[in-house]
Amino acid sequence: MFRNQYDTDVTTWSPAGRLFQVEYAMEAVKQGSAAIGLRSKTHVVLGCVNKANSELSSHQKKIFKVDDHIGVAIAGLTADGRVLSRYMRNECINYSFTYESPLPVGRLVVQLADKAQVCTQRSWKRPYGVGLLVAGLDESGAHLYYNCPSGNYFEYQAFAIGSRSQAAKTYLERRFENFTDSSRDDLVKDAIMAIRETLQGETLKSSICTIAVVGVGEPFHVLDQGTVQQIIDTFETAAEQEDPATEPDAATGQEAAAEQGTAADQGGSTDEGAAPMDI
């Protein structure tokens, strides 16, 4: 059997100029259940799918409040995610101790990315196996960032990570141009819709998703289950009443999305040429 000679530690390059250990860490993000984020001019909404490990267990928390103005949603190794969000909380507390003002989101994200980068360049370390969607508000407006294990970070209008996130991404790509001027409630609705795309047949219930909001005049907080269920109910009934014909459409849409989702899941192994680090 073929065995890769260049993937036994992070600091070894492959002749093609790739760092396999880092790429494996990026794969870990895709294994985790999906997390999505989207933003308008004034608000950012994070959402995630809660998947329990077994019938008997509860699910793990995937959205963390960092400060009143920052929150994260994670996909991948939850344990690593917790460590990183603890780091972010500390940075926020220290900054506001010194300056009595909130830490700018972009700066925290760079610090976080630098921390992840160090793990890609030390033989005795392991890259973090977690992707973070960082939502935040500062004097330059509302922001949504994606931080990955490679130490790369990107700012987005809307993004999705984790398993079957491609379906959510497709949904968000279709609609993102309207997000800038969206109201907070529409943004929440879109977040739930995007999450539904990743579910692949499973029915959407408030018990399997978590939604969190941060925005102008609204400190970061997780919406309680009742509220989320109410929103789900309103648009489920609306869809049934107004246009029963759309139902099958939606179903096919879901199937199409599911196909894309599976394609994305295999993506890692199929297109060998492209380095996933670019994502």
């Binding site: 409040k65 400060d67 909380r89 507390i93 101790f97």
Partner: protein, 223 residues
């Protein structure tokens, strides 16, 4: 060369008085807003009252820089607590934390004299009173700061709380209604500012009850 200021001290006393009164379902915490150094008034509008949690408020006098450091430290600790426990700290828990925080600097103390007031887990008013190095006691009412020598005996006289030596222990909360307690606090500060030069300008009163936190102000002597 110059030696006029050779006797540097890391401490200053910025004066001010604090009072807290606990009732059956409320707590009143009050302090004046004057900040002084020696015979100088630095500012007439500096709040000595700090909200530490939803149902917990601290009033502090003494050395302002230490007080500020203490308040910021407690605020940070409370944030960490909220992250870890997903709830507000209770007033008795904050009382213990404050004591530990003060004692941690036992050999280079925070020069701050605090009263902590709020509602306990049953919604009953509670007051904790401290010295600068962290020893503390749960009481029904208390006063700290430059005017405490004038205020405390007056409160003792008016509130006639049951002796702490009684067995079985009696409840320390005052029998007054909320409005009466606020009136008493106003009287007490109006009196203290007659004789204590470090107390005056304005009185800030914080009332905590089941409805939440409310603030009131009253003018005091400015001389």
């Amino acid at each position: 060369m110059p030696k006029e200021q050779a006797n540097w001290s890391p401490y200053d006393n910025n004066g001010g008085s604090c009072v807290a009164v606990a009732g059956a379902d409320y707590c009143v915490i009050a302090a004046d807003t004057r900040m002084s150094t020696g015979y100088n008034i630095l500012t007439r509008d500096y709040s000595k009252i700090c909200k530490l949690a939803d149902k917990c408020v601290m009033a502090s006098s003494g050395f302002q820089a230490d007080v500020k450091a203490l308040q910021k430290h407690l605020a940070a600790r409370h944030l960490i607590y909220q992250h870890q426990h997903n709830k507000q700290m209770s007033c008795p828990a904050m009382a213990q934390l404050l004591s530990n925080t003060l004692y941690y600097k036992r050999f280079f103390p925070y020069y701050s004299f605090n009263v902590l007031g709020g509602l306990d887990n049953e919604g009953k008013g509670c007051v904790f009173t401290y010295d600068a190095v962290g020893s503390y006691e749960k009481v029904g009412y208390s006063s700290q700061g430059s005017g405490s020598t004038l205020i405390m005996p007056f409160l003792d006289n008016q509130l006639k709380s049951p002796s702490p030596l009684l067995l079985p222990a009696q409840d320390a909360v005052t029998p007054l209604a909320e409005a009466e307690a606020i009136d008493l606090v106003k009287t007490v500060f109006a009196s203290a500012s007659e004789r204590d030069i470090y107390t005056g300008d304005k009185l800030e009163i914080v009332v905590i009850n089941a409805d939440g936190i409310r603030r009131e102000y009253m003018d005091l002597r400015k001389d």
